[in-house]
């Protein structure tokens, strides 16, 4: 993400959360937080607790973000945001927290008198992390139709082409799922695990080889020391090598939810 992209992202984030952008120039922007976002980002629970107890007038903060120190005028004071800065990480995290679960309906705009059936889909966006002393992530978006069990890939991209709305549109009705959400999640999980198990695992084999080699080197420096005298540091070092090298795969869900879609949508 380059600095202009960061500024665009911040603007989208605050606007999506109903905050007013008070000032926006090349290299910096000032935003008026809402009460909700102040609580989300500013970490001042005592202030809000006090205010709620005393019934005072809430005064959420204004924040100024500088995305380019060279472009922003010198008198502008604010937080310098860069890709990698803790504040941006916090906002990334908050974006995911605030939008972890969703339920949307396709706004199909059929105007004929006929009622349109909307089929239920479970959509999951997942991150698969392959970890050893190195790390690789794969982003996947899967959709499971909760009536016939069909699974499609790139589900999120398909959604981006649709008109979606949080309220059920006129002339529509939803079909009840035959597959319950709980078993839907495990169907997707099983599908992912099956795929991963069939993948090339040479990365893990190589990692174990490196682990073993490092372990041998460590042992070499301790070979003349009796087991009782090796002490805590030896154990720590051994554990550190395990943490560093032991291969594993983590599947985590970024966000997801229920989508009611027409037949022609997918």
């Amino acid at each position: 993400m380059q600095q202009q992209e960061i500024q665009r992202f911040l603007k989208n984030y605050f606007q999506a959360n109903g905050c007013e952008i008070i000032e926006e120039e090349n290299g910096y922007m000032t935003v008026q937080l809402t009460i909700e976002l102040d609580k989300e980002l500013m970490n001042r629970p005592f202030y809000w607790h006090y205010l709620e107890k005393t019934g005072g007038v809430p005064n959420p903060m204004k924040l100024t973000f500088i995305t380019n120190q060279e472009a922003a005028p010198e008198h502008i004071k604010g937080e310098v945001i860069h890709f990698g800065s803790p504040r941006l990480h916090q906002i990334f995290q908050s974006t995911k927290n605030l939008a972890a679960y969703i339920r949307l309906y396709e706004n199909h705009r059929f105007t004929s008198g006929q009622q349109v059936p909307l089929k239920p889909w479970l959509g999951l966006n997942v991150r698969i992390s392959y970890q050893c002393d190195r790390k690789r992530d794969v982003f996947k978006s899967l959709g499971l139709q909760l009536i016939n069990g069909q699974i499609v890939e790139n589900f999120h991209d398909r959604l981006l082409n649709l008109q979606l709305t949080p309220k059920i549109p006129d002339y529509s009705f939803t079909l009840s799922p035959l597959i319950m959400p709980k078993s839907g999640v495990s169907r997707i999980k099983n599908q992912l695990v099956r795929e991963i198990e069939q993948e090339d695992d040479s990365w893990a084999v190589e990692a174990r080889k490196r682990w073993h080699k490092d372990l041998q080197l460590l042992e070499h420096f301790y070979e003349e020391i009796g087991d009782d005298e090796k002490g805590e540091t030896y154990g720590n070092e051994k554990k550190a090598l395990q943490d560093q090298y032991e291969p594993n795969v983590k599947i985590s869900i970024v966000n997801g939810g229920l989508f009611y879609l027409t037949d022609r949508a997918v």
Binding site: F83, A99, A100, R103, R134, K135, R136, E197, L258
Partner: protein, 565 residues
Amino acid sequence: MTVEIQFDTSWADGFFQKIKDDGPWGNWDLYKLAIEVEKHTVIDDFEGLQAPKHLPQLTPLPHQLEVAKRVVEDMNGKAILADEVGLGKTIEAGLILKEYMIRGLVKKALILVPASLVTQWANELTSKFYIPAVAQKKSYVWEQCDVVVSSIDTAKRNPHRDIIFQQDYDLIIIDEAHKLKNNKTKNYEFVQSLKKKFCLLLTATPIQNRISEIFNLVSLLKPGHLGNESAFYEKYKKDSRSLDDNEHLKQLVNKVMIRNRRADTGIEWTGRHVETVPIEFSKEEQQLYDAISELRSEDNWMATSAFSIMTLQREACSSREAVFVTLKNMLAKQETPSPAYEQQIQTLAEKVQAVQKNSKAEKALELIRNIDDKVIIFTEYRATQMYLQWFLKQNGITSVPFRGGFKRGKKDWMRELFQKHAQVLIATEAGGEGINLQFCHHIINFDLPWNPMRLEQRIGRVHRLGQEKDVHIYNFATKGTVEEHVLKLLHEKISLFEKVVGELDDILSKLEFGNFEDYLIDIFGHSTSEGEMKIKMDNLASMIQFAEEMKGSETNAAAGNSTIS
């Protein structure tokens, strides 16, 4: 083979609750934004760095990227970066810090550097890497700021020390880390006690194949990795240099240290022009020098040390002021000086008084006027430094002094004064380290240090990456003195000045002898005749040439650029 696959169930638990409660559900715009974030933060390959993609205005050199990649991928963020002087270790460290911050693995970082470089580090991290690094000025920054740059001398003192110990640093960067090779020092103990997940030690001086240095530096990075200290030394003999023979140690060092040599990087360097400027003593200067040299035959002086005589000789080649200060100190050091001793000092002091002009200073003035551009004058002696400042001022040349002992703010200020307002910077030895002066490209070595490494550091301040013009080096050497001999040795016999910066420390570290300076003291202090001196110097020169040839053949054979040799 089976790899454990973990499935995070926390999302699903929340999901079922939402269904049960019929909401509240998230907002579609934010949902899409979250996916965008995700796509920006996934690391889609086991290999490769993320940071460069986010730093479009920075073009790191290939070897710098390679270093950052190796530290992150192979070394788990614990490394000694030992590139030769001037290859951009700051950029490498910045890339690594940025990389870890992007991956969310580093939040708090502490950067300990020489006082004179604090501001420069903070500026570079901010402007080149968009990392809001703060130069430590007030004690509260330790807690309030995530990335702090400080000098180790400030950090190790209270109240800072106690506050720092309470912080959990994810990454610690230490510049000029060769100062930590002795584990008995306060600095070592301080760095050792810091909590750290990742740690980078930056040094231009490589581990000099000395087992104790390896033990100490590796123990900072990986405590306990080498077993306990006594067992380790028993096995490898404290000061032995058997590293070359020990495959395990070699393997270990390659795991924690990266060293790029200039020759490996393929970077084009600006030219270097070296000129010896011979100086003729005036009659009085010659008399002073001779008087000092004659002391050698006097018994009581010999007993004191050949070293003092040599110091005086060298000072006499620099300025009468330098000689005078030393004489004064010598007298003050004796509690009850014998009358003969006092008499000798007195005689010398009179010779000092008799000197009316400084031949070198006059030559320097002439040269500075001809150059008509910024010049750095290096001298070993503070007294000479002060004299030169006065002398140049008398002759209408603006100059600023620079010393290692200056506080950080003063160093920055002097550097800036030099850049913007003064023609000459007069630096003593201690000031040679840790300041970048690429905007200048003329160096006068008013007198020569006997330690070639220090000479190299002097040149390294100016002849480094970022220098756009050819660098001119003027070496002053007074005829018929020790100085002339030393220069001959450095210049003609081992062609020090033609070597690129950093090459020499490789060569010297290859030799089985210790301190170069000790050799010179032996040669000049203990030789009984010109002939003996000449032979000893030739011996030294051929040893160095031998080491150089060894190095040459090795470089051809070596495949990688990181093997220590």
